[in-house]
Symmetry: none
Subunit: 456 residues, 2 copies
């Protein structure tokens, strides 16, 4: 990359860090209604940052829920246009008592920046802003046209941005999207993610008796909403984790042989993965599939939370009237979310135990994504990555779901470069989320370098 | 009963009512630490009432938590001794907004006395005091020896009274215990409860990954503590409610044919029970057993509450590290709590899914109680009941557990007469608890008459 840009980024590291810390201090938890004003404050912070970086047409766009932030710089005629996407909202920090330091008071320990949102996604999104700022400051202009679209609902389904993309294809027209919301395969390994699983997120509510009943007086005759829900949920998967919904696996597309071979060549120690990352006594999952296949290419079903009845300290002998669970399914390429939702609802209806009523609420549903690794922008991104990290770029998938990538493909007809700088142990959505500082700076460099190369 | 006693009780009805109202005005909520002084005030009220009734050796006994009240009158040599038990503490009144009139301002509506504790158990306990007072006032002496033991922790586990009974068998020596803390089977039907189920109350904790994990990144390989607990719990019972723990039913003693026949003769409308009491779409339970058998004589297993993972509004995609459930078993006569606890723990250990660790904590374990209906004191109680209510006495069981009855059996080697005057719709532990006034007066008569007959 240009030496001047390089020098600018190095000279401004401590300012770039302090600004990010200010950003991380805003508890922009999108799922909590009483944090709405904090979410708005984070949107304003993003808008101000974009203005300061030299972007134009900066807008805070009101939506049905949390605002979007848009900005652009379109003075590179004949050059391609890059759509830079990120999100400024974060997951709740619970359980707060497991954090070593408070989630919204960023601190550095051992070269890592600890805070909720440091890696997912404030720290990564902010790299884009700083890369553009550096290029603009050094050259007075940018090597390509850029559009920023930053949302505040990524952690709660991203409905507003999906609607906005669908309704504004002309305004958002671009050649490629760049998203930094993923991780390096391992420390120092340039990694482009070309596949994402889809996600269907639901709630199931089970109701039994009209009110909580005394379990001594009614136990043996009255249905129990908690046990009814437990029975129902237990039928969704067998002991191996194979989902029991009829037709669920019909359209699952397996990875190409070349992809599977490349995964087999990745450095992976299952024992270490179990001990250091997962921390349980054993791994689980479908027999006959590698961990990569199980977490990147196979569909799954998880219960994220369950609640019902008496759960305080001590003993209370009630037959609970009501219980709820959060249940999601990750989808493989080619699985149709609508078809799966219908099969899931039918299964729940048919397996609901006697005496229990159930209701399924679908919170979101989006398909899996697969990007063509031979697209020119992907090639350029791989080169930029290699130039900065000095190693060959690897292509992986992620088991996670980034619905916006599907929206960009569907409505803007463009591929997305998933160029993330997190690390596998960053603790996204967990206590003590962190982001490696060196990766923050390397990310700014790589993004700037990619934009330079892509403009040549 | 003697006409003089009868006349005394009738002439003093309004005074007996006013005194009970004063008693009910004391908010002696045992579970709330900031109500401890009110609980003490209620103990003092009981002690004063006993003194005024002519009892001797009245004591307020301090314990680790709330005081016991003891009193006796032992001047009937050659006559049996009756131990009268009751409790002066009450449940919290929440939700207060659902009460038509304030819970601690007793009022009469439609022949019912509305107040927290009116039926459970102040109103019923106070009948004993008034019955003894009437006999003493009319005859100058009592037909039997009596000992009162009144506690203030019944609604919070009754630990202090259990300890006191275990440590003072000589002081509490008696031939039979009399407890009025149950209900008539229906309006006007003299009812003696001769069976109570036992209770084992436990908590199960399940642990999976070391911390909550991102379900996109780890779903398919990492064990899920909530799903693991769900799988485990679902194995404890089959779809009919039959408990799957090996050996669980080995020692279950079925009710005698005579008992079953008498239950079959009770007025019972299953449709009305389902619609008015349970309020679910169907009843559940073991096939081939009546509702009475299922709720009175068969053991059961219930999950009272479950908690784990993310349960707030919205979507969070975690694989939970931890989940807990409260699980109890009601025991039938002859089932040994220790043996059942061991079988239960073994089952949980063996059925814990791969990758999950479970821990079982036993909070309490007490056996079922069955009183011999041919015991002379039970015969006498049935006769007293029939004489006052002018109908044949029925013998029922309750599916609930009254641990003090087990303590009396174990430490004092005496049976307990469960002679209650509540009604099934009194709303114990609920808003608008009531006690039918006619039953309060009939209860005083019946208890006095029982003591007269038992002394003959």
């Amino acid at each position: 990359m240009s030496e001047a840009t390089n020098a600018f980024i190095e000279q401004n590291q401590s300012r770039f860090l302090n600004e990010l810390k200010d950003f991380l201090r805003i508890p922009s938890i999108s799922t909590l209604p009483d944090h709405a004003s904090e979410v708005r404050r984070a949107a304003q912070f993003v808008a101000d940052s974009l203005k300061n970086a030299g972007l134009e047409n900066v807008e805070i766009i009101q939506t049905a829920r949390h605002p979007l932030v848009y900005a652009d710089w379109l003075h590179a005629p004949g050059k391609p246009t890059v759509l830079l996407y990120g999100h400024y909202d974060v997951q709740p920090p619970d359980p707060v008592e497991l954090w070593t330091t408070p989630p919204f008071e960023p601190v550095i320990r051992d070269g890592n920046l600890y805070a909720r949102g440091s890696a997912d996604d404030k720290g990564q999104m902010y790299m884009h802003v700083k890369a553009v700022e550096a290029l603009k400051a050094v050259n007075g202009k940018l090597p390509v046209n850029v559009k920023f679209l930053i949302e505040g609902e990524e952690e709660v389904g991203g409905e507003s941005v999906a609607k906005y993309v669908a309704e504004n294809p002309q305004k958002l027209k671009a050649d490629v999207a760049l998203v930094s919301d993923t991780a390096l395969y391992a420390e120092g390994v340039p990694t482009l993610c070309i596949g994402l699983r889809g996600l269907i997120y639901t709630e199931i509510e089970a109701r039994g008796p009209a009110r909580d009943l005394h379990s001594g007086l009614y136990g043996g005759a009255a249905p129990n909403a908690v046990f009814g829900l437990v029975e129902l949920l237990s039928k969704l998967k067998d002991e191996d984790g194979t989902i029991q919904i009829p037709g669920f696996y019909d359209d699952v597309e397996p990875p190409a042989d070349a992809e599977k071979q490349s995964w087999a060549s990745l450095d992976f120690d299952e024992k270490q993965y179990l001990a250091r990352e997962v921390g349980s006594s054993a791994l689980t999952g479908e027999p006959g599939y590698s961990v990569f296949e199980r977490t990147w290419a196979r569909p799954t079903l998880e219960v994220h939370g369950i609640a019902g009845g008496f759960t305080a300290a001590g003993a209370k002998t009630v037959i609970p009237a009501r219980a709820t669970a959060k249940v999601s399914m990750r989808l493989a390429p080619k699985q149709d979310p609508e078809k799966i939702v219908a099969a899931y609802k039918k299964f729940v209806r048919e397996k609901t135990p006697k005496g229990i009523e159930t209701e399924v609420r679908v919170l979101s549903a989006s398909p899996a994504i697969l990007v063509n690794p031979d697209h020119p922008a992907i090639h350029t991104a791989a080169r930029a990555f290699r130039d900065i990290l000095k190693r060959e770029t690897v292509f992986v998938r992620s088991g996670g779901s980034i619905p916006i990538v599907g929206d960009f493909a569907r409505h803007l007809k463009i591929p997305t470069i998933l160029m993330g700088f997190g690390l596998p142990d960053d603790g996204l959505h967990s206590p003590n989320e962190k982001y490696k500082l060196a990766n923050y700076y390397a990310g700014i460099m790589t993004v700037a370098h990619f934009l330079e190369l892509y403009g040549q």
